[in-house]
């Protein structure tokens, strides 16, 4: 597979990497960029564990080609804590037990992050709609909803 140069911004940092045309964004992030916080939980577009933000929108990295992110801004779970301080969502998921095994958590938090950016005061229904593509097998979602509500200010 021939490679071409991909230029994009990942977590605030400009990057240029030679990538194959068929390289998935998920594998680019985890393999090339070494950002293993983004998880793979299915065979493509089933579970939401790989949710990242592309130009601020929640997208599934496992069904997005890296090459399609040319010139775009990609944000992953590793971008949220600033100067060692967890974001409000991260703090809330930690304190409210919105995470158990933690495997769906990065995707869940990134989907919630996208929600809170466009809707800082979401209703219960808003939260459910925004996270409807993210499966969690541990929590029954109860404490995930509480976590997002807490991050939004209760």
């Amino acid at each position: 597979m021939t490679k071409r140069l991909l230029a994009l911004t990942v977590n605030g940092r400009m990057r240029e990497d030679a990538v194959a045309a068929n390289l998935l964004l998920l594998d680019y992030l985890r393999g090339t960029a070494g950002l293993t916080g983004t998880k793979q939980g299915c065979d493509g577009g089933e579970c939401g564990a790989c949710t990242v933000l592309i130009d601020g929108q929640p997208r599934l990295a496992c069904i997005t080609l890296a090459a399609a992110c040319e010139g775009r801004v990609v944000e992953t779970i590793e971008s949220l804590a600033i100067e060692g301080r967890m974001s409000r969502l991260q703090q809330a998921f930690h304190e409210k037990l919105g995470t158990q095994c933690g495997f769906c958590t990065p995707g869940m938090i990134m989907a919630a992050e996208a929600l809170l950016r466009r809707n800082p005061r979401p209703t219960d229904a808003d939260i459910r709609e925004a996270l409807s593509g993210n499966l969690c097998r541990c929590t029954g979602y109860v404490k995930i909803i509480e976590s997002v509500q807490a991050a939004a200010g209760g």
Binding site: G41, D43, L89, F93, G102, F103, N134, T139, V142
Partner: protein, 797 residues
């Protein structure tokens, strides 16, 4: 939206350390590894940095049942970049988690017994080479007749899957306690029903993965994997690879859920290690979601025939039950599953007589095994459904029917299970009140209903799978010059929060802040052996061991402080950060106590261990060990549903669940476990089912295998009932399985309350519900046409 509160139930006196509300134990405590999880820093197996690593791939059988005539790997070996190609011949022994049922090879040998069974594996420098090598392997398999249902496999002329198992019966159980015939004769009402349950899968979100490094110079192997049972994996690696166990190291990184999928060593873990040895380096295998469904080990397809005898009071006079489980191709935990189904069927209540007949059947489908609520979930649905049916016929409220059969602890069940604490009465009271049962039930609009069910589960299987004579749990505590206390435990935290719980327990006993505690878990080179995270054993067993280790550490520190302060140890008032000579202002801080304790000895390591008392290890009959435990958890729940009679869609509106966890060492985590358990029960009850065509999985992904999304998941209100078990750590019992079992029957009872239809076939998917509604309409039309007057529909209850 989530009301969580606590109650204390009466219980017998306890000899465990008394604690009302500790400084640390009993406090809502975020997970000690939660920061890693929310920041993405947590490294799961697939995330581990491994250096130069080969890609492992597994070739799977396209045939459901057949004799392997030849596996030709020559062409695959000659492909550039391929470093190893292995088959079943590269293993020294078969495996199986139960020592008497080791009938599975990591790669099939002699025969294949289900579609997707691993038959060969390769390690190569990249995915392309590995895939090319798989494609170049030539399989010659002569097909045999294959059986995809228990009934087909049990047919008289069926070919045997395993040579030593006639009739394809892996295990037949025949148990009777008390005078069953007399019990039915004494009953005022006897009813019998049949039930059917689809097979369900764990669906943990983390995909299976393993990394193995073999050092040829030393003949040493290090395996990191997604396991819940590092110790069993360690034993099995040694056995299957023919290696000395001292040459093996097993490490459990962060694990993304298990729910039973990973409570036995799995083929891919053994294959990864064998590839690493064959290639002389590091191999990583990452399986797909579809691979996970082929590896399976979930809850089997089950048929139940249940007959109960009941007095007008609701008292159960006799139980007669037959259960058939489609076990899949290999043993796994199968014989335990069929025993659990019988053991826990009736032991929730005081019943007069029981007969149980169980059949675990080999079929040409992926092997079933342990899944959260192991063995007892489907049986609970049948029992609690029939209880409601009969209560209805006798004009009893469902609560009254349960209250007519309550146990008073201490109590020994008919099948020799020991009950020392029993929070069901309080659980019932709370869900009755919280759900508004008395004022709402029977007065809701058509299509809306309330249903009740109860359940229970073990706090750790009282007898380990590998009986070695060792304690059931051992823990080490290390203390050194830095004043940090390190817990060394083999217990596998898989997201349930066991490491947090152990840190809380140790901090509580030593009266030190949680920040002083570190947990190093599940690395066989560092930590003491632990049997693993299954049967909800860790809180109870390892928690007790942790208390004892911490008490020993405290004794050492108090003794040293007393010596430094030149008083007797009994004169020391220990307060963690400081200790004081009683009645004086002479104190020594923690660092001083540590310095004193290290004099002449240096680094301190103390041990705590715990075993289940013999009286809790079950009776003497065959299979008696299964179901035995040092402490049962209990739960009751009320489910409110809305049923759309035009579409058959069932929506769960609310759940009220009360769980008797003995004592909530971490109420936050207990709530999370209870909510997760209820919700997982909801998935099985509403929408989850595997499905096969000629042994080929039709739903091997998370879209077609329908676990509930956040949209259809209801608020789950949790009440923690604390019955203070006399043997539990601070009185605690399990919290993550007991509440699962009662969801499905509570749902079925609620659906019946809503639309008058009794579902005996799960899941209650729209097609099944609609079919039941249509069937009732047909019966009603038939009755109308033949002029039967308005008698109640016999299916009403």
């Amino acid at each position: 939206m989530n009301d969580v509160s606590r109650a204390t139930a009466g219980g017998p006196a306890r000899d465990a350390p008394a604690i009302a509300q500790g400084r640390t134990a009993g406090q809502r405590t975020p997970l000690i590894d939660g920061v890693e999880k929310v920041t993405g820093r947590a490294r799961y197996t697939a995330d581990l940095p491994t250096g130069e690593t080969l890609v492992g791939r597994i070739l799977r059988s396209p045939i459901a049942h057949g004799v392997i005539r030849r596996i030709d790997t020559a062409a695959a070996r000659s492909i550039p970049g391929v470093r190893a190609v292995i088959t079943g011949e590269d293993f020294a022994a078969p495996y199986g988690v139960i020592p008497i049922a080791r009938n599975e090879w990591p790669l099939a040998r002699g025969k294949v017994r289900h579609r997707g069974e691993p038959v060969a594996a390769v390690a190569a420098i990249d995915e392309t080479s590995a895939e090319a090598a798989l494609a170049a392997i030539v399989l010659d398999i002569e097909p045999l007749p294959a059986y995809f249902s228990a009934a087909a496999a049990r047919a008289a002329d069926a070919v045997q899957l395993h040579e030593n198992k006639a009739g394809n019966i892996e295990r037949e159980v025949d148990q009777a306690f008390g005078d069953v015939d007399a019990g039915f004769a004494a009953a005022d009402l006897v009813r019998e029903r049949t039930f059917h349950y689809a097979e369900v899968a764990h669906g943990q979100i983390e995909l299976n993965a393993a990394v193995a490094t073999y050092e040829p110079e030393r003949d040493r192997l290090t395996t990191q994997s997604v396991t819940q049972v590092p110790y069993y994996l360690h034993l099995t690696l040694a056995r299957c690879l023919g290696m000395d166990s001292s040459q093996i190291r097993v490490v459990k990184p962060f694990v993304g859920g298990g729910f039973g999928h990973r409570v036995e060593p799995l083929n891919f873990e053994l294959v990864t290690a064998a590839l690493a040895r064959a290639a002389g380096g590091t191999v990583k295998i990452e399986l797909s979601r579809e691979d996970g469904f082929l590896t399976h080990r979930g809850r089997p397809e089950t048929d139940i025939r249940l007959k109960l005898g009941m007095k007008k009071s609701g008292a159960i006079t006799a139980v007669d039950c037959e259960i058939v489980q489609r076990g899949g191709a290999y043993g796994g935990y199968g014989l335990v599953t069929i025993l659990y189904a019988g053991a826990l069927l009736h032991a929730l209540y005081k019943v007069a007589a029981v007969r149980y007949h169980g059949y675990r059947v080999y079929t040409n489908t992926p092997p079933c095994g342990a899944m959260r609520g192991h063995g007892a979930v489907d049986a609970r649905h049948a029992f609690e459904s029939l209880l409601d049916i009969m209560a209805g016929e006798l004009g009893l409220d469902p609560f009254a029917a349960r209250r007519a059969n309550l146990i008073v602890p201490p109590y020994r069940t008919l099948n020799d299970l020991q009950v020392n604490s029993y929070g069901i009465p309080d659980c019932l009271d709370w869900v009755e009140q919280a759900s508004g049962w008395k004022t709402r039930r029977g007065k809701l609009p058509r299509g809306r209903g309330l249903g009740l069910a109860c359940s229970h589960y073990v706090s750790g299987s009282a007898k380990p799978v590998h009986w070695s004579g060792e304690p059931h749990a051992v823990i080490n505590l290390k203390l050194d010059f830095d004043g940090g206390i390190t817990i060394l435990t083999g217990a596998a935290d898989i997201g349930q929060g066991s490491s947090t719980l152990l840190a809380q327990v140790v901090a509580e006993v030593l009266s030190v802040p949680l920040a002083r505690i570190r947990v190093i878990a599940a690395d066989s080179a560092l930590t003491p052996k632990d049997n693993g995270s299954y049967s909800s054993r860790v809180s109870f067993m390892v928690g007790n061991a942790a208390i004892r280790a911490a008490q020993e550490m405290k004794r050492v520190l108090v003794t040293a402080a007393a010596k430094r302060l030149e008083v007797h140890p009994e004169d020391i008032e220990w307060n963690g950060d400081h200790c004081r000579v009683a009645g004086t202002d002479r104190t020594l801080d923690f660092a001083g106590a540590v310095d004193a304790a290290l004099v002449d000895t240096g680094t301190l390591t103390v041990k705590g261990s715990w075993s289940t008392p013999p009286e809790t290890q079950g009776g003497k009959f065959r299979g008696a060990a299964v179901g035995s435990t040092a402490g049962f958890s209990y739960a009751a729940q009320v489910v409110e549903v809305v049923v759309d009679e035009d579409t058959g869609a069932v929506a769960v509106e609310r759940v009220w669940v009360a769980h008797d966890c003995g004592f909530a060492i971490n109420p936050l985590a207990v709530e999370g476990q209870v909510q997760g358990a209820v919700w997982m029960g909801m998935g099985q009850a509403l929408s989850e089912e595997t499905q096969y065509h000629e042994g080929l999985p039709l739903r091997p992904n998370m879209l077609d295998y329908r676990v509930p999304t956040i949209v259809e998941s209801p608020p789950i209100e949790v009440k923690l009932v604390e019955s203070r078990d006399p043997l539990g750590p601070f009185g605690a019992k399990e919290a993550s399985e007991g509440a699962l079992h009662s969801f499905a029957p509570a749902l079925a009872n609620a659906i019946c309350d809503a639309i008058g239809i009794r579902l005996t076939d799960l899941p209650a998917s729209p097609d099944r519900v609609l079919e039941a509604i249509q069937a009732r309409k047909r019966r009603e039309r038939l009755r109308a046409s033949i002029g039967v007057s308005a008698q109640p529909d016999p299916e009403r209850h």
